[in-house]
């Protein structure tokens, strides 16, 4: 681990990706969660952008490194390269635009092609504040999420509704996967050797990183 994040204090670092069609509100979900900000005029994402925020899960500090990717289909070849190492994903659609929900299936495939099967996925129906414009019912989305075994939540980045819950839920679920893995490996998750990388799946590059001691490099 480089000095770049040496001044942080956390127990776990989880990489989470935000994916979904262009204009569904991925960047605003991220800015709401990481900085409690929202802007109708925030720039479209080119390539990928980042933000981090630490939260408490049980008695641990979990730092989420959230990757916000460009939504336009044409950039998928490049954005999929950014999935590497992700242990969680928020797959976002816009409840007022049905086509963005229809495309969720393609995004899911994309995600499963490029990440480990143990990745924690949450389907997120954003813009739930626009009640009069709703085009995707909660029931339909819920049914789809059940069928695909993903978590599901409706959010509004504008009204700050459920944003915190969505991210916290994903991070908590990842933490559980990681703890379970560690237990299965015979380790007490609270007493892992410093610097140990915890694989949540079979691929080496899918990992959650437990924070190492202060003098690590």
């Amino acid at each position: 681990m480089g000095a770049y994040r040496a001044d942080d204090d956390y127990d776990y670092l989880f990489k989470v990706v935000l994916i979904g069609d262009s204009g569904v509100g991925k960047s605003n979900l991220l800015s709401r969660f990481s900085r409690n900000e929202f802007s109708l005029e925030s720039k479209s994402t080119i390539g990928v952008e980042f933000a981090t925020r630490s939260i408490h899960v049980e008695d641990k500090v979990v730092k989420a490194q959230i990757w916000d990717t460009a939504g336009q289909e044409r950039y998928r070849a490049i954005t999929s390269a950014y999935y590497r190492g992700a242990v969680g994903a928020l797959l976002v659609y816009d409840v007022t635009r049905h086509v963005t929900f229809e495309n969720v299936e393609r995004w899911l495939k994309e995600l499963r092609d490029h990440t480990d099967s143990n990745i924690v996925i949450m389907l997120v129906g954003n813009k739930a504040d626009l009640r009069h414009l709703r085009a995707v019912s909660t029931e339909d989305a819920k049914a789809f999420a059940e069928k695909e075994s993903t978590f599901f939540m409706e959010t509004s980045a504008l009204e700050s509704m459920n944003v915190e819950n969505a991210f916290t839920e994903v991070l908590t679920q990842i933490y559980r996967v990681v703890s379970k893995k560690a237990l299965e490996a015979g380790d007490d998750p609270a007493a892992l050797p410093k610097g140990q990388t915890i694989n949540v799946g079979s691929k080496d590059d899918v990992s959650a990183v437990k924070k190492v001691g202060c003098c690590s490099s």
Binding site: G2, A3, Y4, R5, K15, D21, S22, G23, L40, E41, S42, K43, S44, I46, G47, V48, E49, F50, Q65, A70, G71, Q72, E73, R74, Y75, A77, I78, A81, Y82, R84, G85, V99, T100, E102, N103, S217
Partner: protein, 404 residues
């Protein structure tokens, strides 16, 4: 492609060896100097640099510039000296050189950019340009009318049109809204951006609209003001940068490939570091290349950078040397902190707004001169923004292209 394995380390030590104690402001490197002569100056210092490896890690703190000092921008009075009595540019090479070193004054951009972008040819007269403008205006209106005349009923059965329109409308309202020109509700310039982009997507239906295009158009409309002229200037720019937005991303990939070759040539240790960290795809420079650093500098600085790049004075690919210059400025941090791909990507993203344009341009110029022919050999023919060989087959898109 020519080989470029000629002592890469000579190049890598060039900028580090720039003297810590003595700023090299006085080392004048003529713009047309050969690669050998410019490198020679630095070879003298090479030995000292090699003795002290720590020097490399002091790199960030140094004003390591040996490109020519930047000049004040070209003004109206000086501009008129470049024109003959009928308005032809007498010596386009001299003009491009002048702009390369100083850019163009704000008020003059409207006139000069049309040449730089290739909308007007340097040897056209004022009268010819006026005539062309009137023809182009009506041509623009014709193309614009192609989508303007689509009725609501027709649009219902024209999914591709609806999708493009929706995508463009989503993007224009989030393009440079902090600039007063695009500020506020119902801003007519934002509508103008939309109209131009939608018209372009009919002019070049195969390429259509792709995110990033609004970033490229925005400064052009800001400078030109006029809708048809902005459109045609944008068309001229897209002749060169269109492949950046191709479905297969080949335009960007060829530039990132060339960039990796240039870093290998100009900074072999950094290249080796990227290789070791499995970072040779250079995806961390994707945004830089796709929209020509538009998100890395403020609006004014972006315009300055672009007009310098558009001169194609030392190289058509100066932007790649700009990439190398920025990476080199931070090489000690990148290597010293052992950044992996993720950390590097985050670090590069966060450089946005913190890059010194003038110093970077001077470094880029120096690197470009130093690399000389070997540098150009790193860049495969047809790499954007070089004009493509065959325009017809460039944007061959499949039917199942972007849903949104």
């Amino acid at each position: 492609m020519k080989k470029h394995d000629k002592k890469p380390n000579n190049y890598s030590s060039v900028v580090e060896s720039n003297d810590v104690h003595k700023p090299l402001e006085d080392v004048h490197v003529p713009a047309n100097s050969s690669e050998e002569s410019s490198c020679e100056i630095h070879n003298k210092n090479e030995e000292a640099a090699m003795r002290d490896e720590n020097l490399e890690y002091d790199y960030d703190k140094l004003s390591l510039v040996w490109g020519k000092p930047r000049q004040p921008p070209l003004g109206s009075k000086e501009w008129s000296t470049f024109l003959d009595s009928e308005g032809r540019v007498i010596d386009s090479q001299a003009l491009r050189k002048r702009i390369f070193y100083g850019g163009v004054e704000k008020g003059l951009r409207k006139e000069v950019w049309r040449f730089l972008l290739g909308y007007h040819s340097y040897d056209s007269t004022c009268a010819e340009r006026e005539y062309l403008a009137s023809i182009r205006k009506s041509e623009y209106e014709t193309i614009k009318n192609q989508w303007k005349s689509i009725t609501k009923e027709q649009a219902k059965r024209f999914t591709k049109f609806r999708e493009r329109k929706a995508l463009i409308e989503k993007d224009v309202v989030r393009t440079d809204r902090s600039i007063p020109f695009y500020d506020g509700d119902d801003n007519s310039n934002v509508k103008c951006l939309r109209d131009i982009l939608l018209t372009y997507s009919f002019y070049n239906f195969d390429l259509g609209y792709c995110q990033g295009m609004s970033d490229l158009l925005s400064p052009i409309l800001y400078v030109m003001g006029d809708e048809p002229q902005s459109f045609w200037c944008f068309v001229a720019l897209m002749e060169r940068l269109g492949p950046n937005f191709n479905r297969d991303q080949n335009g960007v990939h060829s530039q990132l490939f060339a960039l990796s070759k240039l870093v290998e040539l100009l900074d072999n240790p950094l290249h080796n570091y990227f290789q070791q960290k499995d970072c040779l795809n250079y995806f961390f420079c994707f945004r830089w290349v796709l929209i020509q650093f538009k998100r890395e500098f403020d609006f004014e600085k972006t315009m300055r950078l672009w007009e310098v790049l558009w001169t194609h004075y030392l190289s058509e690919h100066l932007h790649l040397y700009v990439c190398v210059a920025i990476l080199r400025r931070h090489r000690s941090k990148i290597i010293g902190e052992e950044m992996d791909f993720d950390t590097l990507l985050k670090f590069i993203n966060e450089l946005s707004g913190h890059i010194n344009l003038d110093a970077t341009l001077r470094d880029a110029e120096a690197l470009c001169i130093c690399a000389g022919e070997n540098g150009e050999a790193c860049i495969p023919p047809g790499t954007p923004p070089s004009l493509p060989f065959e325009i017809t087959s460039m944007y061959n898109q499949q039917d199942d292209d972007d849903i949104l």
